[in-house]
């Protein structure tokens, strides 16, 4: 069941936007025709494979590849020595900053292996068996070093230090010694110590979460071909072909224009495909071998060597008046970054209190390197971890005060005009409307059964715009092609086509969206940050409007009148000139057929840097049932309300919401990286790394609240990030209320719940 709450007074009537046409990628995906990263092949291609470190932390004393090169069929072997040494340089890769030296050293190790699974060498051979044999014959001499995987242990002065050059940023003074603490983030307002002292009620608790993987079904895969003239081609599955192009050029020292990247269909990314792992290696192997090279990760490699998101330790202290007004908040978070700096703790500090209007707070975030895979973005990076702690604390505060959990959130809610905890003043937000939608839902009013508990949690994400390019081409028969440079990870092809159809006046069936390679469309930042429907959609709308302008000009020429006398309505030009009253409307088909004679092909391309993405808020209600004999938690009902601005294709938006909830439920209940005493991951597969499947979940009710964003032509706000923010806390609050024990450590697996029940009984 889904429902849409609209504000019709401010939403213009539209004919395509807001409807639910059949998805343009649907037939390909259900028939198996869609070509994912591993589906592409080239004549003469070789098989590329990677030798990975068996140690969590080790100095690489030497690498002898001579015996590997002698294996019949082996055409290339590369190590870190085959790549240029890059200076430490923060590069804005389109969405978030990456240090190029760290990025390159994560692709292939230089000097030290920093986590189990770190790439040490790569080979390309005519057969997979030859590549495997070559990997076995590479002799690496390691000096094994003490390792650290736990975030708090990594912060200890006695911890083994991963990087001798790492000095904590963000402190008042530069430390004298390097450490594993890369950076301190801090937000402050008012006098939190005095406010906590004066508070009538204080709740305080430590919360922990574990590293979890994005869990995309499609492993990383690519084919790379280095041409003899220096031009390179890459086919790969990623969230941004332009990101792949830029990073490959930087890591290999190439001209950006010499690399052409063609995006494959993507089998899930969720933030994890916003960086490169294989592509630079495949290009280097191809350069050496003189053949195209294909590389496909195994599931085990995906777990051991690609980015999970951080595990974290979060301490929350809230002070409040007896009426539920929160007067003070102190939050301190320590996040695993993995082997290189760059955990999402900065975003976590900014989002942690973003739903609350609090006069006094201090939020501190610590970015900490550990001997674990370098973290990568995961939907609303950092926000779910912070929300788990803060929303759990707010729930505990409500229980302490005997207040309804919805009441306490409404009492402290941000509104238009509130200064956000991260700085700016909110405008055009729909948080109160979203809270109201959740309160009005059937779910919130429904009774609970035995051994059941209900959890409420809220969440926030900024959403962004950024650089995008889109083109609209009118074909000779009057159909339209919409070209963008953003891989479709959440329905963007449908939304692009629908927005173009709305402007052109065409039925959606006559508009075909495609995602182009880097040589066929101008630059676009990658697909992520909930930016594509907002920013690239804005480019599509403007390109379609340019096309309409051209169509009006052509009609004006044919009618020998001015363009101002031509109206575009219902996919046809209508003559308004009273002196030309005999002119019948000219259809898009007619104008397209005469395009050559009236001035040439009709098309337009727009490049822009979109600003004004409106933030999103979500309010989630979760019911669980706990088996007190086994500790098994079942999610029996779930409702997620979200301010989406305006849903371009409501089914896709509901899908985004449901997908975020499903991932959040997995994060809350079962998912976790488990390391043994040597720092090796013990569960690098879906059998032991337990993700929720359809049978684990109820139907997730998505409630779309539409408070339009005035900065988008159709009112759209980003929707993909927010839905994963509240579920961790919604589930944990439900379990805590069901069993009467505050659950502060994720995941809430059966042994953990059973232990909590046993402790409570004792």
């Amino acid at each position: 069941m889904s429902e849409t709450l609209e504000k019709p007074a401010v939403l213009p009537a539209l004919t395509v936007v807001g409807t639910r046409p059949i998805r343009p990628d649907g037939a390909d995906k259900v028939t198996g025709r869609a070509a994912y990263g591993a589906d592409f092949t080239m004549p003469g291609q070789l098989v590329g494979k990677i030798l990975r470190s068996p140690h969590a932390h080790a100095r690489i004393v030497s690498i002898d590849t001579s015996k590997a090169r002698a294996v019949p069929g082996v055409k290339a072997v590369v190590t870190g020595a085959d790549f240029p040494d890059l200076a430490s340089e923060v590069h804005e890769g389109g969405e978030s900053a990456s240090n190029l030296r760290d990025l390159a050293n994560n692709v292939i190790a230089r000097g030290k292996a920093l986590y189990e699974g770190h790439a040490i060498a790569a080979v390309a051979a005519t057969r997979a068996e030859a590549a495997d044999e070559a990997l076995a014959r590479i002799k690496v001499t390691y000096e094994v070093l003490p390792h650290v995987t736990d975030v708090l242990e990594a912060m200890s002065p006695s911890a083994p230090v991963l990087h001798d050059h790492l000095f904590t940023e963000g402190l008042e003074a530069r430390p004298e010694k390097p450490s594993n603490v890369a950076k301190r983030h801090r937000l402050a307002r008012g006098d939190v110590a005095a406010a906590l002292q004066a508070a009538e009620v204080v709740v305080e608790r430590r919360y922990t979460t574990q590293a979890v993987h994005q869990g995309y079904l499609e492993p990383h895969a690519c084919v790379a071909a280095w041409g003899q003239d220096g031009r390179c081609d890459v086919w790969s599955s990623s969230q941004g072909q332009f990101m792949v192009r830029t990073y490959c050029a930087k890591i290999l020292g190439l001209e950006i224009a010499d690399i052409r990247v063609t995006p494959a269909e993507i089998g899930g990314g969720f933030g994890g495909k916003t960086t490169v792992y294989l592509e630079p290696l495949a290009l280097a192997l191809s350069r050496q071998a003189g053949h195209p090279v294909k590389m496909v990760m195994s599931r085990e490699e995906v777990f051991r060597a690609t980015g999970p998101t951080s595990g974290g330790v979060i301490e929350v202290k809230l002070g409040a008046a007896r009426d539920g007004r929160i007067t003070a908040a102190q939050v301190e978070m320590s996040f695993q970054a993995g082997a290189f700096p760059g955990s999402p703790v900065g975003a976590a500090t900014m989002t942690s209190l973003a739903c609350y209007d609090i006069e006094n707070f201090l939020v501190t975030g610590w970015d900490v390197v550990t001997n674990t895979p370098k973290v990568a973005a995961y939907r609303a990076p950092g926000a779910p971890i912070a929300a788990f702690a803060v929303e759990s604390a707010v729930d505990e505060l409500a229980q302490t005060l005997g207040l309804d959990p919805m009441d306490i959130r409404e009492r402290n809610a941000v509104v238009d005009g509130t200064k956000a905890s991260y700085g700016p003043v909110y405008q055009n937000i729909g948080y109160r409307e979203t809270l109201a939608a959740a309160r009005e839902s059937e779910h919130w009013k429904a009774p609970l059964g035995p051994n059941q508990g209900r959890g409420l949690a809220v969440g926030f994400w900024f959403n962004i715009g950024g650089e995008s390019t889109a083109a609209v081409h009118i074909a000779e028969d009057g159909s339209a092609l919409v070209v963008s440079g953003n891989p479709d990870i959440g329905g963007s092809r449908a939304s692009m086509a629908m927005m173009a159809a709305e402007v052109l006046g065409l039925p959606i069936e006559r508009v075909r969206p495609i995602v182009a390679d880097t040589a066929s469309i101008g630059y676009s930042m990658l697909t992520g940050g909930s930016r594509t429907t907002f920013a690239t959609g804005m480019a599509v709308v403007q390109a379609a409007e340019k096309v309409v302008q051209t169509l009006r000009e052509r009609a004006a020429k044919l009618w020998e009148t001015t363009v101002e006398q031509v109206e575009w309505k219902g996919a046809q030009a209508v003559c308004l000139d009273p002196a030309k009253a005999d002119k019948k409307p000219l259809t898009l088909e007619a104008l397209a057929a005469q395009a050559g004679r009236t001035g040439g092909p009709i098309s337009a391309q727009v490049s822009l840097n979109a600003q004004g993405a409106g933030p999103g808020f979500g309010v989630h209600i979760c019911d669980v049932e706990v088996d007190r004999e086994t500790g098994q938690v079942s999610v029996v009902r779930y409702t997620a309300a979200q301010d989406v601005g305006r849903a371009i294709h409501p089914s896709y938006v509901e899908g985004q919401v449901q997908g975020g909830v499903a991932q959040g439920v997995g994060w809350a209940l079962n998912e976790a990286y488990i390391f043994d005493g040597d720092g090796r991951m013990e569960n690098p597969g879906f059998l032991d790394y337990r993700m929720p499947v359809a049978s684990d979940l109820p139907m997730i009710d998505a409630v779309l609240v539409e408070v339009p964003n005035p900065r988008h032509p159709f009112g759209a706000k980003g929707v993909g990030e927010v839905p994963i923010v509240p579920p961790l806390a919604a589930v944990a609050n439900a379990v805590s209320r069901a069993i009467g024990v505050r659950m502060a450590d994720l995941p809430l697996s059966p042994p953990a719940v059973l232990a909590a029940l046993d402790d409570a009984a004792a």
């Binding site: 804005e92 008042e172 990076p381 700016p424 950024g466 940050g529 909930s530």
Partner: protein, 81 residues
């Protein structure tokens, strides 16, 4: 004069100062003015920070207008997944 509020990331350049008034009509002018007042800060905020102008976040947008009464918050650039 626009009122600028700088987050903790900027404090190493400002000597801990977090609020100041700057005469600038665009983001680019603001970056230049910040660099003149606090050497190195202009380049830092240009590369690493976003500009929340009267509540709306602007990233990598030199010519976004700033009004004489605007409030500008310097916050880390926002990414996402």
């Amino acid at each position: 004069m626009a009122h600028v509020v700088a987050g903790s990331e900027c404090w190493p350049y400002t000597g801990g100062a977090s609020e100041f008034d700057v005469d600038a009509a665009t983001v680019r002018e603001l970056i230049t003015a910040l660099d003149q007042r606090f050497p190195g800060l202009g380049d830092f905020v240009d590369r690493r920070m976003a500009f929340a102008i009267d509540g709306e976040i602007h990233q990598d947008a030199w010519f976004s207008p700033i009004g004489p009464q605007s409030q500008v918050w310097l916050i880390p650039k926002i990414g996402g997944g």
